[in-house]
């Protein structure tokens, strides 16, 4: 593996009157990168006022640790991302991207992407003026996102969009609106993550107007606790309708398996299942003909869930809670808007629950919440389990 070290060595080799700042040599290395390059970042905090761009396949960018090598965009003047990558066979690890004016790390198209042990953070804490996404691979295939930390993004800390064959594991997402989000993607394993103090912990969504319809996500072995931060997303965005206090949320997505998670203290509900019609964009939006707004084949089992639903984060849900459980009551672990595709085949399951004593409240949104129900009969079913995601080695 060819090494390409850009540390203090650069300043000695040059013999110029002034040493070249690392920011310039780093940018030059990204601009002139060749396949196989390993671009190293030394310890230190490095300040950038323009976005960084890398378009070469087969490159690794490596720092000395997410608390040691910091790329700071606090005074960004131009460019919508911190680091924007359009390349395959890309690895980035052991560094931090702070205070990008837009998204911190965007990887736009590319196969075989590894993002590990990086931290994306807005250091002022949750704020609507923070960039939208921390870690943002979109239209990628074979993507591994592991052991990262994502803090205070105004949309999603870790957001995988329109991608296929995805593993999101071992990450920590806190104080984002959405901690971890998989959207319009096919084949994702989201496991061993910690999602705490977000508005919503882990989201699996589909949006209309996108060619790729997402399905096939396993969410398991995660710790999803106390996601009660007030929603600070820009109004009108997909996540602006996520009620504070949402643990794991599925919207308009199919074949989602939620199992073996530890989910607690989420003040709206530990698990929410909804159709596009409940996505709460201040009035219903048109649904394009080719979009499937109904979640189906959702399988919830063996989760350890406690302490949910004591303070729903959105007015209409407070009203439902009050009506069904009284103002001092709580939602059960799981709530569902109850909207079913009228053309659904009879043998296609909507939601199956095998979770001990956990209850599911159908809030009956389609009938203006007229008949909420805790009847668990229709959830006594099972869904064929999804296969684990296997990413090609190397």
């Amino acid at each position: 593996m060819k090494k390409f070290i850009l540390a203090v060595a650069a300043t000695f080799v040059l013999g110029c009157a002034e040493p070249v700042p690392f920011e310039e040599t780093f940018r030059a290395a990204l601009e002139s990168a060749q396949p196989g390059d390993v671009i190293e970042i030394p310890e230190g905090t490095f300040a950038f006022d323009r976005s960084l761009i890398m378009n070469t396949d087969g490159v690794t960018i490596r720092g000395q640790g997410m608390d040691k090598s910091v790329l700071s965009f606090k005074n960004q003047l131009a460019g919508a991302e911190g680091l924007s990558v359009s390349a395959s066979d890309f690895t980035i690890e052991d560094l931090a991207i702070e205070d990008a004016i837009g998204d911190a790390l965007k990887v736009n198209e590319g196969n075989n992407i590894v993002i590990r042990r990086i931290r994306t953070e807005w250091t002022n804490g949750p704020d609507v003026s923070n960039g939208a996404y921390g870690i943002y691979p979109v239209q990628t295939t074979n993507v591994l996102i592991e052991d990262n930390v994502a803090i205070a993004a105004s949309d999603a800390g870790i957001y995988v969009g329109q991608s296929e064959q995805i593993i999101v594991r071992g990450n920590r997402a806190e104080y984002n609106v959405a901690g971890i989000e998989v959207e319009n993607s096919i084949g994702a394993d989201v496991y061993n993550n910690t999602a705490v103090a977000n508005t919503g912990g882990i989201l699996v969504f589909n949006m209309p107007g996108i060619p790729k319809r997402g399905y096939g996500t396993r969410v398991f072995d995660n710790d999803v606790n106390d996601n009660n931060t007030a929603n600070f997303a820009a109004p009108g965005t997909a996540v602006s309708g996520v009620p504070a206090g949402s643990g794991i949320m599925v919207n308009s997505n199919d074949q989602v398996e939620i199992f073996n998670n530890r989910i607690s203290g989420n003040n709206t509900a530990n698990i929410l299942i909804s159709s596009y019609f409940s996505a709460n964009y201040a009035g219903q939006r048109e649904v394009a003909a080719e979009f499937d707004p109904y979640p189906e084949m959702i399988y919830i089992y063996n989760n350890d869930m406690t302490n949910a639903g004591t303070a729903p984060g959105i007015d209409y849900l407070v009203a439902v809670r009050d009506a069904v459980f009284g103002p001092d009551g709580a939602f059960p672990d799981i709530i569902w808007d109850g909207v079913i595709d009228p053309n659904k085949p009879a043998d296609r399951e909507v939601i199956c629950v095998d979770n001990g004593e956990s209850l599911l409240l159908n809030i009956d949104a389609i009938n203006e919440f007229a008949n909420p129900s805790l009847d668990m009969t229709s959830y006594q079913c099972s869904v064929e389990k999804l296969s684990p995601i296997e990413l090609p080695a190397g």
Binding site: E18, E31, R50, I53, G161, I210, A234, G236, Q284
Partner: protein, 375 residues
């Protein structure tokens, strides 16, 4: 293993820094004296100095263009913080470009396109946002115009390369990492003038984001089909006459000049969006992730943004629900993103730091003229 070929980029980056240091000492001594004929350079020998291409250079105060090149213009051009642009096209002797009715023309290996960004200035040296420049390079003298940068696109056998050259003194110097310059225009507008880095060129010029191939954007029939004051003839006919273009054929409609009130509002707005947005917002472009398609194709109105929710705009949505709300530009994300200059929210993402108030006005009129409602 440390083969020279691999070390080359590192040495290149270092040698660039040395040359930057060296230029401080030597630039005062050397005059710009490049070749008198256009000289095509291969990818491993890109010259530091723009003058070494023999294409665009300064002769004293006078900007000169080789007579082996033609100057050209577009019907509506990308807004670049009110900078004016001198565009030139050079084709090697005996070669020609392939006309295409809808897509970028295919040019032969050895072709060079240049675009020199200039600001007219007044007697006190203040930079102006408008002038009556008719596009003729003979008017470009350094006492009347500030030279900012010259961007080259050069066609190698392996495809197009993009090279940013920044003007300093009597020549322009290759700057692969680009640069950013805070500046103020005569009316007090403060801007951060961005010279793109080589990779940033691809942000716009890789119009098919999947293949990543760099392509010229302006060399399309609909942008070029116009007469210019420089030559007093239609550009496409002129190029065909000169033997630089295969037969002009196939149906195409020229884009509008965006300020031409004789054209319909729809044609002007679509033409404006085509050149300012369509390089990313097309079905294969970098912004196909958004589902918003703004190039001048026959898109369904929902893809054009009518009642379309944002996908990943983040705070770029400005708190609005739809890209275009018919009749209500003030509630439309499209208008919002053109009206802001916050880099985290603005559109285009790269290429401007000011708001193009005049262009925004056309888009707002267009949206406000639409009928119907979103749900």
């Amino acid at each position: 293993m440390n083969s020279p070929a691999h070390d080359a980029p590192f040495q290149h980056a270092i040698s660039r820094s040395i040359k930057t240091c060296g230029a401080l000492f030597f630039s005062a001594l050397l005059a710009a004296c490049g070749p008198t004929e256009v000289t095509f350079h291969t990818a491993d020998h890109y010259p530091e100095r723009l003058s070494d291409w023999g294409l665009v250079s300064l002769d004293g105060q006078q900007l000169t263009v080789s007579d082996q090149a033609l100057v050209y213009e577009l019907n509506t051009a990308l807004f670049s913080d009110y900078a004016l642009k001198l565009r030139t096209l050079y084709l090697p002797e005996g070669t020609r470009a392939d006309f295409d009715a809808t897509s970028t023309f295919t040019l032969p290996v050895g072709s060079i396109i240049s675009k020199t960004f200039i600001y007219p200035k007044n007697q006190t040296g203040a930079l102006l946002t408008s002038s009556d420049w008719n596009g003729d390079p003979s008017a470009i003298q350094t006492n009347a115009f500030e030279l900012m940068e010259t961007r080259l696109m050069v066609k190698q056998a392996s495809g197009w390369d993009a090279l940013p050259y920044v003007w300093k003194g009597d020549d322009a110097y290759l700057s692969l990492t680009g640069t950013i310059r805070p500046m103020t225009l005569v009316d007090g507008k403060a801007l951060n003038y961005l010279v793109p880095s080589k990779n940033q060129c691809a942000s716009c010029h890789a119009t098919n984001h999947t293949t990543g191939e760099l392509l010229p954007i302006g060399l399309k029939a609909r942008h070029l089909d116009r007469s210019t004051k420089v030559y007093n003839k239609n550009q496409l006919d002129h190029w065909a006459e000169r033997g630089w273009l295969t037969q002009v054929s196939g149906e195409h409609t020229p884009n509008a000049v965006w300020g031409d009130t004789e054209q319909t509002l729809d044609h002007r707005a679509r033409s404006y969006l085509d050149i300012n947005c369509g390089h990313c917002h097309n079905a294969q472009g970098a912004a196909d992730t958004s589902g918003l398609l703004l190039d001048y194709e026959d898109h369904p109105t929902s893809a054009l943004g009518r009642c379309k929710p944002p996908i990943a705009a983040g705070r770029g949505s400005g708190g609005h629900l739809y890209s275009i709300v018919p009749g209500q530009a003030e509630d439309s994300i499209l208008s919002f993103r053109l009206a802001t200059n916050d880099p985290g929210m603005m559109m285009p993402e790269l290429g401007r730091s000011l708001v193009h108030q005049e262009g925004l006005e056309i888009i707002n009129q267009w949206i406000n003229s639409m009928e119907g409602q979103c749900l």
